[in-house]
Symmetry: C2
Subunit: 330 residues, 2 copies
Amino acid sequence: MSDVARLAGVSRTTVSFVLNDKPGAAIPDETRRRILEAIDELGYRPNAGARALAANRSGWFGLITEIVTGPFAAEVITGAQSRAWGDRRFLLIAASEGDPAQEAAALDQMLEHRVEGLLYATTWHRAVTLPKAAREVPTVLVNCYDAEGELPCILPDEESGGHRATRRLLDAGHTRIGFINLDPAIPAAIGRREGYERALREAGITPEPSLVIPGWATADGAYTAACELLDRPAAARPTALFCGNDRMAMGAYDAIKERGLRIPHDVAVVGFDNQELIAAYLRPKLTTLALPFEAMGTKGVDMLAALAAGQPLDTHRVTIDCPLLERSSV
Amino acid sequence: MSDVARLAGVSRTTVSFVLNDKPGAAIPDETRRRILEAIDELGYRPNAGARALAANRSGWFGLITEIVTGPFAAEVITGAQSRAWGDRRFLLIAASEGDPAQEAAALDQMLEHRVEGLLYATTWHRAVTLPKAAREVPTVLVNCYDAEGELPCILPDEESGGHRATRRLLDAGHTRIGFINLDPAIPAAIGRREGYERALREAGITPEPSLVIPGWATADGAYTAACELLDRPAAARPTALFCGNDRMAMGAYDAIKERGLRIPHDVAVVGFDNQELIAAYLRPKLTTLALPFEAMGTKGVDMLAALAAGQPLDTHRVTIDCPLLERSSV
DNA sequence: ACAAGGAAGTAACGCGCGTTATTAAAGCGC
DNA sequence: GCGCTTTAATAACGCGCGTTACTTCCTTGT
């Protein structure tokens, strides 16, 4: 920077003013041009670390996930990343691998790097408890919530998702809709079932509990559940299946095809999660709902930026809709 | 840090010595204990940015990928990440989205952050040309190579992969092995075909060109190709299919099942890429080869660490084996 | 002609730390 | 008791930059 100043025939301060577009500093165009030329000629690059030190603003946000691999975390990262870079902020990403020790170590490193905020994301919607150190810095939870309900969080709107999926099947003319659910104890399963039942009631149909079977989140479990549903007498057999996730839909597909039934003519299927590799390549392609991971990532950075700037949050608990992806299974 | 020094009754320098385990500095246990106690009591955390500035070592490596989403990039990141954190180094990750402008911007930011090395990873094995700015810092290519052949690179061993897949089918007793290949012009397709033919020749079988058909990397393309192969007269029909990737294997599965043939009894299948969501949930589960993305990521950080330390590289071009994942389709 | 005010630019300090050169005290052999 | 080495610790500088307080020069109005 001193070299630039010397070459441009000004002081280092002036160079700094130009680089930061300092408001209130009167820099004639001619001087500015000389400085920019010098920067270009010398190939000068400001040192981000030194700037951070002097300005007392690191520009970093931390992002802790359980695993970096896996489509979910990757999408959150994508969303957060793009939003952050656009804002000239940067993401220090760490994976906890589900290990509290690694998680604590990662958090330590982040605090040493003076992150201005922390994003904590989980693979599936559930409650979490953070290490105490997380209180030292603004924190936003993504796809999870803390038991004490103190931290702001961003969650998928499971209820409206279940409603939307069911509604889609109702619109296609189905009235007996089987629901192969996830583990019934988790928030996703509870919310989606509520949405499912609300959609039915809104259509004037009384929810039939026997049409709801847990598939335990596996393809095999869903296969078994689908067999059970499809082998009922014709009058009780569902003409559509709403599956808790796409892997489960895969199992359901097998059960359906095995019985010589066609999708969607004989049985329609809606999945959940939009696991691209499954949904887009099943035959026929699977209509499913997407968990809005990328949107949750960007929203997380937004909220963090607000918090870091000292602004209050309008909403402490944000829910984001799960969009329906129309393919060929309905 | 001054507070710590004051509380411990020593100078800031002494605190620094303790923090860095400075060799040659004689610190009595008693003094060290007092300092560590003071650190603990005050909850002091060193400022990583300031350390970097003073020591002139940022501790950062940059990682540029085309997309952060997608299983490939995610695995590379996982590998690089775990290796880097273990070494107290950190990854500044950016996605180019295939856009040269974004790529250049990302690189600029990385250089401003004074990364000590750059990892450049692509989604599929191919040649690349880097922005000139990349020359300013040690660079290692992952899953790609530069046309000039100047930069060190890490590549999957396609030839041995093709050989291993074919060998597995030969070992299972197959002699007419169809190969539904990727776009024949790309390195992966070329290497794997070489391996395929070598394995055949080693088994005393003359490669039959008509058994090799491009599937153009899509499930539909592979489906068409598989139909063509399976509809040949019995004597010319392959009893096993080696597919260029798992999506293509998915298409092949459909063609096989449609004809009432069973996997693996009538037709065995080997895929490539180990796209977990497909390979592990197809029925029967798909035997496939994994691209060693995670290993490539860790190796990349290793090489970068060596380069950043000024050590010469033993090998300029590293290839890593593609392991066979045994499931149920052979 | 002169004060007032703005335009253009600078010197100097501090951010939090690593590191070198130096000092002061303590131990040791005789 | 004296010189010499080791031990323990420190003052002071610099890393690359942002920022504040200050100076100098030019314009403008009267």
